[in-house]
Symmetry: C2
Subunit: 416 residues, 2 copies
């Protein structure tokens, strides 16, 4: 089944908006065992006509995004009907639900919204509980010109994504008959994609029916697996045999959410003391709903004076070893633990750059300290010579990973 | 001049990588007064052939990304030569610079890298100082089949972007003859795209030769203008007459970088006290190089106990008014100013959700407090009923904007 995506929108051509629809749809379809053969983007307006006509020649399924709004450059409905040679007719149910959408919000419905209730004759109108623009599904063979099924989806992600999940994916799953496939996303930290290439990649390639893809982020690599259940089980076992200690989650859960879950399950609290990451670690933790139960205090001690006054780092040690040192990382962690009363404290101090590097401590150097209620205080060094933003991310990743291992090691050996 | 982009890469189809090349190239070309007519993505391998052949029929310029690496699915060079009917020949300069690339790094060059020195006969090889894959420029009319100019660029952004800037854009500028155009990016906060639609949009549309586009982010809208200098000056005056007080920067500089610049210029220091944003404000500030000169202390007081012990917030006030209140926001700001010795302290306390909302304080409510060395302490309420991530971003934006206005108001009226 050949699937194509046609994204429409001038904002996608001008660089003002990154096309996230293509990646999101591609990823979700991949989980269904389906592949996108081609993705095309064109500006709003008449240029959609040619691109759509060409795609209908090639594809079995065409998913079109955008251009369903009420303004004059929203022409996707009109062009689709014209290209398919179908009349545009008003859909009574669509009109009714649009009127309700505005009535509920106490806003008048503009005349221009009326055209959003139009759809090619015989097409199925897809309800949009999150906006005014209904979607459209034109089944294959509705006209004599094409056997391609066409879905028209609204542009805003918070309207498109629920509609795709409710209306499009079940339809595609039924059309493709690949419902026996399942998907798995294994998230690892502390290793890179190249470790997989050297480690297990060739053996994964030998598993019948398995498809897989890597997604490498900073300090993290996701392995997406799809296939029949037995292929998946085989692949999972193979990968975990080698990389279990680096596994963060098996369902795409982020490292920070995994840390919050582990803290919650173990009734532990965490404090952070951040210099070079400047609050990124606490920001990531507090991105997780429920973080308030396990995270209480964060210290962003960017200046040495703050390290001294808030965390009790010794001025003498700062003078002797410098702020980026094992001693200071340990004192920061111990100080944060003491000042917060938390069970675990993690501290980071490093040189983000672009300035501040020294021959013995180049830009990219960081120390990560860890203190726990039982009195243990340790620190280790990492080196991530990257730009400022990526450096912060890499160091925050190493710090969160240190917390994860710390919690796990309280109960079981790190390697399993 | 019709420009098309062809992005190649299976990772772009599987949802594992978002296509940032399309937006980046579109934005940079827009600044040159050039528009992308169509963008297409296809997986690695033979499928590139059809997409390239079709694009060559339509376009005057085709920019191809990816597939220049050493592995077996990197076929862009081979397919380009085949589609254009040109032989692939080894480029001596490319081979030499690849050998140097490896020699400098003390790594052996693999046999598989040799094919990266191949280019269609007569094409120009584009040097790649940031990687092993040279780019290729096939001038228009090199073969009898097409008058389309073709650029092949490597996939990694840190290789593609410098190569595009050095080798592609000057060539396109020369080909298009639109070198008189200039570009301007005005960044605003505190207003939305709809304010422009109601305010100045129709008048901008009347300016001869002006092209413009909006890019709306959370709490921020960027207005990109391109055109001849007089049209740009006219548009700028028109927009600033109405929205000057909301202007953050005229060169795309972020709000946080603007705040760091204003602090630096005015020799002021800043402290933060964050509850609901959990470190996002300090994280944004410390993303700016040089932040360490103006930002010293950040407090992430997620728990009430932290607000009390670190910032001296009164337990009685917490009990009476709750943590999300004007009084507590003021006390947090005043406490952070006192504990840090900074000139300005900004504090935020709010309900990020999904839980914790109350009828009188629904999810999305936040108070922002501001304290300054002269003894002034103020707070104001914002309401952003969004998901947790977007709420944090919106509140951090309002807090940084409050700091910006605070600094500016020390010297001049807010409205100009």
């Amino acid at each position: 089944m050949r699937i194509e995506i046609l994204n429409t929108g001038t904002e996608l051509m001008l660089g003002t908006t990154v096309n996230t629809h293509a990646a999101w749809l591609g990823g979700e379809l991949f989980k269904l065992g389906l592949h996108v053969a081609r993705q095309t983007t064109v500006p709003d307006g008449e240029t959609i006509r040619d691109a759509m006509g060409e795609a209908l020649e090639r594809a079995d399924v065409l998913i079109v995004t955008g251009g369903l709004g009420p303004t004059s450059d929203d022409l996707t409905r009109e062009i689709t009907a014209a290209v398919l040679g179908l009349d545009l007719v008003e859909d009574a149910a669509a009109l009714r639900s649009m009127r309700e959408f505005f009535a509920v919000r106490g806003r008048p419905m503009a005349e221009s919204n009326l055209k959003q209730a139009l759809a090619p004759a015989g097409a199925v109108v897809l309800p949009n509980p999150n906006g005014t623009a209904p979607g459209v599904y034109v089944p294959p063979g509705l006209n004599g010109r094409t056997n391609c099924a066409v879905f028209l989806l609204p542009g805003p992600p918070r309207e498109l994504q629920p509609m795709a999940e409710t209306e499009v994916f079940p339809q595609l799953r039924a059309m493709s008959g690949v419902s026996a496939l399942t998907a798995l996303e294994l998230k690892f930290t502390g290793i890179g994609e190249s470790d997989f290439h050297q480690g297990v990649d060739a053996r994964l390639a030998d598993i019948t029916g398995l498809e897989y893809g890597y997604c490498a982020h900073i300090g993290e690599v996701d392995l997406r697996l799809i296939g029949p259940p037995d292929a998946l089980a085989c692949a999972r076992a193979l990968v975990l045999e080698k990389f279990r200690e680096f596994l963060v989650s098996e369902d795409g859960t982020s490292l920070e959410a995994t840390v919050v879950r582990l803290l919650t399950e173990n009734r532990l609290t965490l404090a952070t003391a951040e210099s070079c990451t400047g609050g990124l670690i606490s920001n990531r933790i507090t991105d997780v709903p429920g973080a308030s139960a396990v995270f209480t205090h964060g210290f962003v001690t960017y200046a040495n004076a703050a390290k001294t006054s808030l965390l009790g780092v010794s001025q003498a040690e700062l003078a002797t070893h410098g702020a980026v040192s094992e001693t200071v990382a340990c004192q920061m962690a111990a100080g944060a633990l003491c000042a917060s009363g938390a069970d675990i404290a993690v501290a980071v101090t490093g040189i983000a750059g672009p300035d501040g590097g020294m021959p013995e401590k180049p830009v990219g150097t960081a120390w990560i300290g860890l203190a726990t209620r039982d009195g243990a205080v340790t620190a280790f060094k990492v080196f991530h010579p990257r730009n400022r933003h990526d450096f912060k991310l890499a160091v925050s990743q190493a710090a969160l990973e240190a917390v994860r291992r710390c919690i796990i090691s309280r109960k079981q050996p790190v390697t399993g």
